[in-house]
Symmetry: C2
Subunit: 106 residues, 2 copies
DNA sequence: TCTTACGGTAAGTGTTGACTTACGGTAAGT
DNA sequence: ACTTACCGTAAGTCAACACTTACCGTAAGA
């Protein structure tokens, strides 16, 4: 059920930009906020959401709060998505067999 | 960039329930609306969003509008997610090597 | 044609949530 | 101790959106 929070978190464009920036490596809040069109407190709030969704993790280095991608939430999301992927492939296969009934294999 | 719409579409809980129901096979709008705590027009609106996101496809059977899962949007989402998956694994591997420096393998 | 089942669209409402500014709290330098 | 840099939280505002009811079009059966 945790994938719900992850999807909600990644639905926001600003949060996606933060998450994509984190893909290049761990970053403190200030670095993340620089270059984004929103204020630093906004970034803090977004990071909180991402963290609660299990998508990022926090690590303190003195006064700095360094964030990085958390594989946990990512894995849950992938697992959930793969269910549909398998179902979709089965449906596609069935569709092909149904539509192209004129030619039997072997 | 299409994955953005897909994520936005799947962020809504009601839309997720519709999408998950479609996993068991194609369904007309009425069947989808039955069992959900919202009205049928609401389901129609949700299906429109899912369709524009490339997550479902529509097929008419007389007066019925039968919806099914569209592999297109699903594939784009998976591809996008896999980028982070790879990055996260790399980071995890680097973290292990950094933290557990005391013991060398082999 | 009249009716019934099916479903998409319009218009309006209420709530959620993304953003802002202002403030408080901790760590490091002088 | 004072200052500066870093960051999280509180409170308030505004727009997006999920939902409703009402309405309109289309397909099939009588």
């Amino acid at each position: 059920m945790a994938y719900g929070n992850a999807l909600t978190a990644l639905a926001d464009p600003t949060r996606r930009r933060i998450f994509e920036r984190l893909r290049k490596g761990p970053r403190p809040v200030g670095k993340l906020a620089a270059g984004l069109p929103v204020s630093r407190p906004a970034v803090s709030q977004h990071l909180k959401v991402l963290k609660e969704a299990g998508l990022v993790q926090e690590e303190r280095e003195g006064a700095r709060h360094v964030y990085s991608i958390d594989p946990k939430g990512l894995g849950q999301l992938r697992a959930w998505l793969d269910q549909f992927w398998d179902s979709a492939l089965d449906a596609f296969r069935a569709e092909v067999e149904r539509t192209a009934g004129k030619e039997n294999s072997k």
